[in-house]
């Protein structure tokens, strides 16, 4: 009898805290509809991984290593970057680059809105995180889960659990984070700027060649990103070629759903209390917020900068859509535009900037890896 209940004595307060955190993630997913596909598996996994002597994670019992399924999945799917890459095929198949191809200038906002990544990297380094961890923390600002996982895993960061929780939580919180920041750094007059949308025909050839050419360009300029951008663009090519509709549908639905289920619960293997219940975790979550805020500031200020030289004024709010949180950010900007002026439709411009952010965040991840690797 004592043997049966001995496990109860192994319960520690940190484990209970992780159960509460897991419960909060599940609550946010179900009640608040915040990234439920990721937060729910992560929340459940956090509870699963933090039960005393949990068989779901690798344990050393009487000197013998007993492998847990979450660690097996982590090694099989995340340590070798497989899951984030496969997920990118699904994401690529979901994205319509049409608004960007109609108005390619929006690419520049995608670039500008990566500022938060590099700003947060510098801030994390100032706070004493080593450069590998600082880079992994900064990449929360990519507002793109697979890229965050890819970079944090590449640098073998001990904080991967906290980084992923922060990345996905803030993506869901974009409608709360971005509007006050945008209002703070724009005037009412700027927010009222109208941008007429000229609907242009984008030829099928351009839609098909775009993913191929982009992969080649990014592969040459930022080779570290080529796997990420290649899988993203492969998914998009499946969508745009129009002859692989079944594969495109499978990538968007079955593949993306299956990987998402496994990704969420597998990340939980890095949410064990001994890795997660630390002051560092709180700091990382705060730094993630800084990254999103400065992404937004970067995009908006760049639009204001362009307005100094441009005859056709750009609504600076569109710059904020350059973060990669797709399609959340473009919807937020569209709604903000309508709130200021019910006749101001910014959706297509914002969607262009938003998909540009998807490409830019992947490039930023590759550039970050290449530059930080030289320093360490």
């Amino acid at each position: 009898m004592a043997d049966i209940f001995s496990n109860v004595l192994e319960i520690r307060w940190e484990m209970v805290l992780m159960w509460i955190i897991g419960g909060i993630l599940i609550w946010l997913a179900i009640s608040k509809d915040m990234e439920p596909t990721l937060l729910l598996p992560m929340g459940f996994g956090a509870i699963l991984a933090n039960l005393p002597t949990s068989g779901a994670v690798t344990q050393i019992i009487n000197g013998n290593t007993e492998e847990g399924v979450l660690d097996v999945l982590f090694n099989a799917g995340i340590a070798n970057e497989l899951f984030p890459l496969l997920l990118f095929i699904g994401i690529g198949a979901m994205i319509d680059f049409g608004p960007l191809l109609s108005n390619p200038k929006m690419l520049l906002f995608g670039a500008a809105a990566q500022f938060g990544i590099f700003f947060t990297f510098a801030l994390a380094a100032l706070l004493g995180f080593d450069l590998k961890d600082a880079a992994s923390i900064g990449i929360i600002g990519a507002a793109d889960g697979p890229t965050s996982i890819f970079v944090a895993n590449y640098f073998n960061s001990n904080y991967i659990g906290a980084i992923i929780v922060a990345a996905y939580s803030y993506m869901a919180l974009v409608p709360i984070i971005q509007p006050p920041v945008i209002r703070l750094i724009t005037t009412k007059k700027e927010r009222l700027i109208k941008m007429p949308y000229e609907q242009k025909n984008v030829s099928t050839a351009v839609r098909i060649l775009f993913p191929i050419v982009t992969t080649a360009i990014v592969g040459i300029l930022a080779p570290r990103s080529v796997a990420l951008v290649g899988f993203l663009m492969f998914g998009n090519l499946l969508r745009e070629c129009k002859v692989l509709r079944i594969l495109s549908d499978s990538a968007q639905k079955e593949l993306a759903n299956l990987i998402t289920i496994l990704l969420g619960i597998t990340i939980a293997s890095k949410m064990r209390f001994d890795l997660f219940v630390k002051v560092d975790t709180l700091i990382i979550i705060l730094l993630g917020l800084v990254a999103f805020v400065f992404d937004t500031i970067g995009g908006v200020l760049f639009a204001k900068f362009l307005n100094l030289f441009s005859k056709k004024k750009i609504n600076p709010m569109v710059g904020a859509a350059g973060i990669s949180a797709f399609p959340m950010s473009s919807r937020v900007i569209h709604k903000m535009g309508l709130k200021e002026d019910p006749t101001n439709f910014l959706l297509m411009h914002a969607a262009g900037a938003n998909v540009a952010g998807q490409i830019a965040s992947v490039v930023a991840g590759g550039v970050m890896i290449a530059l930080v690797e030289k320093l360490i």
């Binding site: 520049l108 995608g110 706070l127 080593d130 984008v202 030829s203 990014v218 540009a356 550039v367 530059l371």
Partner: protein
């Protein structure tokens, strides 16, 4: 890890910030240029074999 202000560590970052942002802008400018070239090259075919941008 104990959080502390690490100036030496911080001083390694400006080059990453500068070249990082520059790298992202250069890559996206090249993609921008390629879209312009593709759009011009396939404009005529576009009438025959095109679809209107959907939201």
């Amino acid at each position: 890890m104990k959080i502390h202000i690490d100036i030496d560590n911080f001083l390694q970052t400006p080059q990453v910030v500068l070249f990082g942002m520059l790298g992202v802008f250069v890559a996206l400018l090249v993609i921008y240029g390629s879209i312009l070239i593709l759009s011009r090259a396939f404009r005529k075919n576009g009438k025959k074999n095109s679809d209107v941008t959907k939201d």
